[in-house]
Structure formats: structure tokens, C-alpha cells
Symmetry: C2
Amino acid sequence: MKSLDFVANIRSVAIVGATKKNNYFFVRIFAESFRGKVYAIHPELKNIEGFPNLPVYGRVTDIPRNEPVDFVFISLPREKVVQIIDDCVEKHVKLVSIFTTNFADEGTEEGCRLQSELIEHAKNQVRIIGPNGMGLYYPRLGIRWRSSLPIEIGSTGIVAQSGGFSNLLIHGLTSENVKVSKAFSIGNAADINALDVLNYFKDDPETNLIIAYIEGLPEGQGHELLRIMKDCKKPLLMIKGGRSKSGSRAAMTHTASLVGNYTIWKDAVHQGCGILLRSFDDILNIAKYIKMIGPQPIHNLALISLSGGYGVVCTDMLADYGIQLPLIEGTLSDTLSHLFTIPGTSFKNPLDIAVMLYEIEKLDQAIRAILSDSRFDGLLFEIAPLYIAYPMRPGVKLDDLLFGLLKKIRETFKKPIGVIIEDIGFPEIKNALKTRLQAIDIPVFNDIEPFARSIHAVNEFVKNPRT
Amino acid sequence: MKSLDFVANIRSVAIVGATKKNNYFFVRIFAESFRGKVYAIHPELKNIEGFPNLPVYGRVTDIPRNEPVDFVFISLPREKVVQIIDDCVEKHVKLVSIFTTNFADEGTEEGCRLQSELIEHAKNQVRIIGPNGMGLYYPRLGIRWRSSLPIEIGSTGIVAQSGGFSNLLIHGLTSENVKVSKAFSIGNAADINALDVLNYFKDDPETNLIIAYIEGLPEGQGHELLRIMKDCKKPLLMIKGGRSKSGSRAAMTHTASLVGNYTIWKDAVHQGCGILLRSFDDILNIAKYIKMIGPQPIHNLALISLSGGYGVVCTDMLADYGIQLPLIEGTLSDTLSHLFTIPGTSFKNPLDIAVMLYEIEKLDQAIRAILSDSRFDGLLFEIAPLYIAYPMRPGVKLDDLLFGLLKKIRETFKKPIGVIIEDIGFPEIKNALKTRLQAIDIPVFNDIEPFARSIHAVNEFVKNPRT
């Protein structure tokens, strides 16, 4: 398994397949974003409209000898690709990304043959991402396959056998303030496969959380997967595509992947550093939890809600996922009884604060008393956005008050805080408060189940001996 | 069980407990919204600041004999409430709503005694909502307990043993275009309990979908629940609060409810018209599904996605919930092969349309061919909002095109259509398209699991013989 370390040192890129018809789509993207030298390769054009200073060569090998090319991005009809690979070998290119589809994914002998040819011609000298993949997203170097992809630099690594799913993950995670270090959209994974990338991420200093969407692996690589997973010290969230019969058929159509036996996957992931998930939203929620709270278990929680009924529903759901709400009693109960004096409030846990919401100082004291008690591993705070939109005391800026309160608590206590803001029709208010809270590592969830599931996943992960 | 039919004819309301300190909170709300006569009751005040024409009387019984009062809303310290009940009996008031807390919910003998007194003094002549409840929300009559509650009139009835949860449901459902006929926030349910309201809703011509959040019922009412559930022809979505040990303790603190055995509840609900759920979001999603699609089962689905990988993940999740994606073959396959000509697309089901997204006419033909085939009960269409935000073909208004396409399809075919728009950071674009689609009864979900769960819940509901 050859290392992918060289990707951190990509300094020059050549784009093959620029056409006037597609408005020089990929040339434009690289020219606008990449923090290194960009070349366009075209058999006829002398320069690219709108980019007068961008050098254009007929072939990769026409680029002057003293100008090395690290990375070549290919978007050409499939039958023309192999010739480019030959040129890349000659030019000592390190990495090629093949966007072109209809290789093995076409499901034909011809497609499979052409894909094998790529590998033969690469002669173990050029590494290939794809074909049928979007390639590499690497915001630190300004490498991206769409100019709409975010430029924020983070520490979450993504490997996905799907370009569309990569897009969803990059946008979705970044919008939740879980920014990305790099993403590999590996498509048919003819050369660089998920194991190569996982093996790279596990030692990559720029990556500390790994997200993987995998449909299949090359035959006989189960042991290798297990070895990497056991060796990896970073949490890895994985969706295995093709768990079901119809899903496995869909994966075959999609990337010509043999999906393998899901039970074997489950064992490998669970024996290693992995958390196996089933949905996109689970990835977003659990990645956010791990990024903001850390892989820290929670068994006993204090729950503050603005609605007694919602508090009961949360209590039941948390119990379903093995998380308890210890009864508040003894001296803590005495302390809280002096603070919870408004009729309609209660502090047994769940704590129903009702209009005590407006008495931030008392709330602050109550939360400090609770989190100082070793019986509580953390706090969940439910904020229905309608009370921010329509404060019962006019002029009170509840969002500022609550943000200030939670910020101070977060700075004082190491214990995790989670917040629920329901989707009930105040999107601007919700998103504004959510963004502020997530910027100080307080994750915000839409409802109790995603939060309970996140805790549960992390509790299981931490329990795992990873022998 | 006395009927609640009279609520549809509430023509006059008296508010007891207006104070200058609370800025005449409830008087203000009723004066602004209620489409009938409003009185304020106050022992000293002669008129209410800001409402010079609103009649104020010292007691309910001081209101002239020829001016009947149908509904009295009480927000007074608990020890003063029973006297008002006496007056309401004398005045032949039909319905009283007691907002005041610290009756049985306080968990003291005194609180319980005071609550019993209310019932005795009502003499079976005045019906009581509460105490410890928000009362009645009835947008057609302009009755609401907060002026922020929506004025839109719908056909979903809510009964909840929690004011906060009622608020969440009313705002949440309305924002999803599932508007409300009326809501009863019954609190401690000393008189009017969940069964009374369910019994009323089952025959209420203004209500065709019922949502219930219930913590407990009066002892020995299990059979009555079962009778109503079996007799009810309208779908009922229910959360039972206090399923877990800690949840049952929380329910006792919240509304003094004895939660009973959850297994008995499950049996009663499943034998009847009910769908038992565990989370707020499940209620929103399934209510939306039933409202827009109807309680119509789906066993075989066609899935169109913009991302092959996301399509695979959806296929697996649907299989988890017993929903199949039949392989497209035979003549339908022939038809589609002439439409899916762009490399990177596929039409085996899931259908991966990739950039065919821009060829709306072909997409239209493809969907018509699929939905005309009896092997497909419905269509799921995934629209990642980033492609609307950043169309690959500049100037193309994909949201308009897709909305127009789905609208035409929805008008032609009776078959259900669901849409997924993921939460990946384009909230305005998402919400705008979601609102348009939901206005034409195409429900929009955030991810595959809520959609799969909704179908599953409805499939189970429809399968249920309700003997």
C-alpha cells in the first residue's frame, strides 16, 4: 500500500478536457481556486477564453521539462483517457483524477477492459483517483471540483465512493461547523480505494475525524480493512452502501462494487475505530457531537426544558438509548428549591423552567449547582424558538441572554452541553442562535432522537475495547 | 361522557385574573383575537388600560342576566379559583379553563384537595379544562392563549397534557402546512380528559386527523380508550408520555398523571385507529405524510436521486422499513434507455439522473412512464439544494423547473410523491421550494429515514384490521 502523503505537496495541476462547449468548466474552477500553477491541455486551443495568462499545451508531455506537474485532472471521453495516462507516466505526474464515467460502472465488458487498461498503463508510477469520481477536494491547497464547494479549512477527512454524496457531506458538515481537511471522491476506485485513503487519514496530521461512504472493496481486502481499523486512533463514521439486496444491486450499477457481506463489515468496523451508521443525518449529527463534545461518554444527564411535556418525551427517548436522568435530591434539591420559586416550574430532573427562562441569574446558579454535582455527566437544554420570537416580557433579548449564559457555563465546566431547538417555523431565529452556539462547541439538534442517538453511538464507541 | 360539541358555539368569553402587573396579558389576547364578546372580571378595576370599550365587572355574576357567558378563562392564585367556579355555575357558563398551576401537579395533599374541590363545585354543570393547562386553541373562533399562535384554520385536532408541547405542535404542524382545527391543552385533566377530547374529535366535522400527547388517564379508563379508538375512523397519532421509569416519574411531577402500563396502551392504540410514536419530529413527519398523501400504503417505490451514493443509502434504508425498489426491466427499461442517454446516469431504480436534471422534458417523460407502470406505488425524488443554488448551467432556474415538473405529475397521477431536500446549508432555497411543494401536497423530508418511517407507520396502520 503506497502512501498518499504526496497530496499535501501538490504544487501544479494540469486540466485535460477543457472545451469551449462546457465553458472550460474545470479549468475555470482550478484557475480561480488552486494555490499553485495551473495548465490547460488541449490539442488545438492556444489559450483559454477569459484566462489569457493560463498556459495551454497540446499534451501533458509538452509542458517544459523543468516545470513538473504533480496532479492531472482528466475529463475526456473514455477511449481517450489511456493515452493521457501514458503521458502522465512520462511526465512523472504523481496523481491523476479521472472524472469520466462508463468504465466498469457501465456494466459492460468494454467498460471493464478500458478500466483495466488504465491501471496497466499507470505502471504503478501514477496513482489514479476514479474513474467515475470527482477526485480530490483539498481546501488548504484550493483544490476543488466545483467552485461552489466551501473554502473553509477543517480537520475532518472524507472518503466516498460517490461524487454526489461527497458534495452532500462537504456542504452538510461545513454548514454544521464541522469543516473538512480533504475529501476523496474515489468513484470506481480502480486504483486508490477506500483502504488507501483510510490508511492515509489515520496518520494524516491534518485529519482527526474520518467520514467514509463505502460501497465495496477489492476482493480479499477484509483483513486489510480490519488491520487499518484497529490501527486507527481517530474516530471513523462509516456508511456501508449496499447492505440490502436491492441496495447491493444499486451499488453494482453505481460503481461496479461488490458489496460483500454486511456482517463482516460490521465486525470489522466495530472491532476497530469505527461507528457504523445508516443515514446522512446520522453522520451530520454524530460528527458534530464528536467534533464539539469529543468522543466523551454520557450516562447521566440533566435536562432543562421549556415544556414539561417535551421534557417527559425526551426522558423516555433518552431511556430508550440507555441514558438516565438521575432524580435531583438531597442538598442539590435544597439548593434548587430556593431558585425554582415560580409556580409551574419544577426541578426534579427533567427541570421544567417555564417562565423562569427570564431569570437568567437564577438559571445560571441552578446550572452551576447541577454541573458541580458528580452525578451529572452533562446538560441538555431545550429552547423552543417561539419564546425567542415572542418573548413574554417585551424587549427582552432571550437569544442573547441564553447564549451568554451557555457560553459562561461552557467555559467553566468541562462537561458536555447539548441544545435542542425544534423546527417549528422560525428558521432565521433558529439558525442564528444555532450558528452562535455551534461556534463555541455547543452542538444544536432538531429534536431529542438525533441527540440521544449521538450519545448512544459515542457511548458504544468508547465502550469498545478495540483490541 | 358529556359531549364537548358546545365549544363550536362559544360566543362570549370572560377573563378572570387580569392585572396591571402582567399587562392584562390574557385580556389583551382575547380582545385582539376572539370573534365574540369579551368581558374582563376584576374586583376593583373599572376599565382596562388600552381597551376603553371592554366591559369590566367585579364578578362573573355581575354580568347582566341577558348577556350569557359561554367560556371563562381563569388565571388567579389557586385558592381563589373555587369561588369563580361557583359564580360560573350560577351564571350557567358552559366551559371554564384554569391556567393556574399547583393543584394536583404540586404533589401535595393541599393541591389535590383544592383540585377535588373544583370538580365538586362545578356540580357537573360547568366543564373544566385544566387546571395547569393552557386551555383551548380554536382559530376559527379566534380563541388562543398566546397572540403569537397562528390564525390559520385547518383540520388537525390536538389534545395534549402539556401547554408547551401544545405550542410546539401548533407551531410545528402549521409551519409544515398541516393546519389545526382546535387544540385542547388539558393540563392535570381534572375534568375534561384526553378521552373526552378524543371522543369529541372522532365525530367533529372540523377535524379529520388527530394528534394526542397523553401522560395518563383516570383509573379504570383503559376499556373506554379502546372503545373510542375502535370507534374512531380518523387516523390518530399519539405519543404516550412516561413510557420509561424516569419518564413516568417526570409525568407524575408534570401533571400528577399515573402513566399506566405502556403495553396496555400499545395494544389499545394498535387495535384502534392509532399510530403510536416516540418523538416530536415523527409526529410532524407522519402528520404531513397523512395530510398530503393520505393514509395510503406504499410497498414499491421509484427513487430518483441526484447522487448515486445517496440513492444507494436510501435504497438500504427503505429496505429496513420494508419498502422495495423494484428493478426496472422489460418495456419500461426500453423506454427509459432512450431517455437516459447522458453518461453517468442510470435507470435501474434507484434512478441516478445526475446532469439529466437539466433536461426537464426527458425527466417528465421518464417519470410518466414509471408512474404509469403498476409495479410502482409512488415516487421519491431527491433534490440536493446545492444544485439549485449553483446550477451548472448558468441562468437555469432549477427550482422553478422542478416545481413545475412535479406539479404536473402530481396533477396527472394519483400516486404519492415524496421529496427529500437535505439540510446542507441553503436554508432559504430549501424553505422556499419546500413551501411551494407542500402547498400542492407533496411532502418534503430532510433525509430518507423520516420518509421511510412515515411510509412504514402508514403501511402498518392500513394493514391493521381495526376489528
